[in-house]
Amino acid sequence: MNRFDFLRPASLAEAITAAAVPGSVYLAAGTNLLDLMKIGVTRPERVIDISRLPGLDRIEWLPDGGVRIGALVRNSDLAYDARFAAAYPAVAEALLSGASAQLRNAATVGGNLLQRTRCAYFQDIASACNRREPGSGCDALQGENRLHAVLGWTEQCIATHPSDFCVPLAALDAVVEIEGAAGRRELPIEALHRLPDAISATESVLAPGDLIIGLRLPEAAALAGHARYVKLRERTSYAFAVVSAAAMLDMDGDTIRSSRIALGAVAAKPWRAHAAEAALVGQRANRETFETAATAALADARPSGDNAFKITLAHRILVRALTLASAGTPKVMPALPASPFPEQHAPAPKGDLHVA
């Protein structure tokens, strides 16, 4: 780790001013930042500790039925908040499927939104990486890339966004509140992260010194009864997604009034599947409908390397997420949150979960 100056601003205004100096980074829990500093990927000159800033660690219910979540709320505190988990069950399930209990106790909402990709070439400072060093190239293109992006990638970058939390947030049209040198502004979460283009691989639209101070979720009571997050991992727990899907349905009997769908680990941002949502409107909730929606979600997918299997897998995980969502949100959080497999001691939901 390089040497750095450590600052403890007493207020939000002081923090924003301090961060205006080039080479500054914000520190909340540090679960991602410190890791990247240890391996030399991030080499800040100034670390600005925002972990004690007042007023950013609250969950506030809004008069319109939505919720505002402060940027310093810890992942576990949000996931285990009973009112929040009942109102937004797929978000709670996504949070509990990420990282470990220790990390969830520390990691913050704001940090989760801005966590960096786990692409091995991004993390290896001897490799070329356009994200870490713009213009240096992308060693992942010809490297070990079976877990890389299948949507929205360019030859600049084929990395994926690692967050589980952001997937249902994208589906629910979360709004991100940002404080910066130019004052306060807000963005829909779909506009926060950037896809790589032909010449660059910039990760987000935030300017240096911008600080996420919170996010808001609109009221979503109609979706709460049929909401799931499903995540395929290479081991049972404590692993990033190979592919994941958030599926939320507003049901009228067997008919789908509307839906919210997003995919995870397929692109450089949480991938909202608008085409799949459109395909479900007014349809009966059955296998054929879900297959059609999954086909629509992945119509533009193409392999970026040895990862054509991820397209098939994402299709199947989305069908499974829709199948599980249509069976209803579980009354109790599953022992293995977001597991695609039925619980050992619980009966499997009706219908065939497997896709040929």
Partner: protein, 175 residues
């Protein structure tokens, strides 16, 4: 840029001068306070060997910057036993053979203490396994570890049941 933090570790308050802000909580405990029970495994938040309680919650000490902890309270494996009487989780790990080489054990035990106080596992071994997944055991003693966490849970609830209602052991008002 030297500055100092105050940190209560295992009930003892310390004023610690930091001449370098790069020190993690893990290195502070091991190298400055000579509490070497907390282990360094991966040093990257992937193995759980460095698990301690920070303000009562289990976290990875390796991914926590000491400079950010002014005024905090830390409990390590050295702070669990009451004199010569082992904490129920420590006793259960011995009784259930929840270890082989022992390197991950302080982290496993601190994580189990955190898990039991969080109260989300109940009596379900599947939930215990899931909520202990942040602690890796290269010897593969997982069966004994799961058993130990379940048994310690029973022992702790029996102990709590024996307390007069509304008066927890530490004398604070029940939340």
């Amino acid at each position: 840029m030297p500055f100092s933090i105050s940190l209560t570790v295992n009930g003892q308050s310390n004023s610690i001068a930091l001449d370098d802000p790069r020190v993690t909580l893990l290195d502070l405990l091991r190298e400055r306070l000579h509490l070497t029970g907390t282990k360094k495994g991966c040093d990257r938040g992937q193995c759980g060997a460095c698990t301690v309680l920070l303000d009562g919650r289990r976290i990875n000490a390796c991914l926590t910057l000491a400079a950010s902890l002014d005024g905090s309270t830390v409990t390590t494996i050295e702070g669990l036993a009451d004199g010569t009487e082992l904490h129920p989780v420590q006793a259960a790990f011995i009784a259930c053979d929840g270890l082989q080489c022992g390197y991950c054990t302080p982290g496993q035990i601190m994580s189990a203490v955190g898990l039991l106080s969080e109260g989300h596992a109940g009596n379900d071994p599947e939930r215990v396994r899931e909520l202990m997944s942040g602690n890796i055991c290269r010897c593969g003693a997982y069966q004994g570890i799961t058993q130990a966490v379940l048994e310690a849970g029973h022992a702790l609830s029996a102990k709590n049941d024996a307390q007069p209602a509304g008066v927890p052991e530490d004398g604070r008002n029940a939340a």
